[in-house]
Symmetry: C2
Subunit: 256 residues, 2 copies
């Protein structure tokens, strides 16, 4: 991120990758570790849930479990890896059946609601700068379940991944918007009403200009009671699933 952040060099193709999922948790020899990865990750998630991802610093997490700062590095070599573990642990909360049921629409609806629930519990999830990520076991499980719903229906892998990407993008985008109010309130100490009051001089200047009809509509509408988030989520999700339905070749005769 910042600070030193020097990057490991890749010397040759053959050297052992330092991937957290390949690093054994317990050593073959030597003294027994005093802490566990699970314990560390749990503490980090607890802090991040309550005080934001930035608060879950290496120092803070170490303190949380009663360890010295640098001891943490015996378990998790980089903060990046801590975050990776946190993400996968959060995805582990998804309550999914072993395999898709065959009713892809029901399965994706289940997955969507599961993802939304997890993200609401762990708002920092939607705020991660997503990178080239190594899939952990629970991310894999989700991919298999989600991708599996569309597998074997005559779609190419490109099409499947595009559709799954659209699905994920919708869920993520929706939840991100939903979560951002609570997150920003925690971050800035301003709740929604205070924020409205704070920005109102600017907003009114825009409204007074009269050249932003869409913005005006949004603002005016935002002051009125909305469809509740559940219903809005469901509405958009229905559209996305319809899109997917239209892309799946019909099994027997007629095409869509």
């Amino acid at each position: 991120m910042h600070a030193k952040t020097q990057v490991r060099e890749v010397d040759s193709v053959g050297d052992a990758p330092d991937i957290i999922w390949l690093r054994p948790e317990r050593p073959a020899r030597g003294p027994r570790p005093a802490y566990s990865r699970a314990q560390i990750v749990e503490a980090a998630i607890r802090v991040a849930d309550h005080e934001g991802l930035d608060a879950a610093s290496m120092r803070r997490v170490a303190k949380e479990i009663g360890a010295g700062t640098m001891s943490l590095y015996r378990y998790i070599p980089r903060r990046e890896d801590l975050i990776e573990l946190m993400v996968d642990a959060a995805l582990g909360e998804l309550d999914l059946p072993e395999r898709p049921s065959g009713d892809w629409r029901a399965d994706l609806t289940l997955l969507a609601h599961g993802l939304r629930a997890v993200s609401l519990r762990h708002p920092w999830l939607t705020r991660l700068p997503q990178t080239r990520r190594v899939f952990g076991p629970n991310a894999l499980r989700m991919l298999e379940f989600g991708g599996g719903t569309l597998d074997g229906r005559g779609l190419s892998i490109d099409e499947m991944m595009t559709l799954f990407g659209i699905f994920n993008g919708y869920v993520d985008g929706f939840v991100r918007a939903e979560v951002s109010w609570a997150e920003e309130e925690r971050r800035t100490g301003m709740d929604r009403d205070q924020w409205m009051a704070y920005t109102s001089p600017y907003v009114h200047q825009i409204l007074a200009g009269g050249r932003h009809p869409v913005f005006s509509k949004v603002v005016i509408e935002a002051r009125q009671p909305h469809m509740d988030p559940e219903a809005r989520f469901e509405y958009g999700l229905g559209l996305i699933l319809d899109t997917i339905a239209a892309s799946i070749p019909a099994p027997s005769g007629q095409a869509s």
Copy 2:
């Protein structure tokens, strides 16, 4: 983000908000400023484009324009605001007509390609943790254009914003995936092939387990030549636009 990051208190409803878009650029009295916001933002964008958003620190940007670090704070009170200005400046590169043409499908296609082009030029855009954001002039312009394509077609504002959100989510999600390879290469010094080699022990372990058919398909397929990004983008965009089309009530008689 981190460090001190103490948050301004909101004392009362009435105190003047410190919103960058309301802060006048030039003072009424006193010596004339030596630099300009535009110059600062341009330097910040240049650095972020080449070395990533983190490299565009206050110190670095100040050095870039030949100013002392703290001088920057006379122009831009917080780094958060610098980023806000950068985003809006980038959106300013969107080449959009004054108002939608009436052909919403053509207009949204234009907007989608514009957004993709801008994001490819400024990869840090897709990597921003999005927050409760104050819309700058160019963000407003985009909102008006994009929202305007769907306005007056019998949709509620909730529906319009859901559809526009789906549209934005798709474009953003696609470009994010597209850009992440280049960004990660800059960040880690590993190109795509090196990354593949680096992770291959882990990937092979998963493949060998034989319990991840979807992942296996993706990996195997990823080694073969793909549809080019343009075509994939266009394919998904078509689906999204179809979704929107299906949601727009028919103007005369029959419904969708």
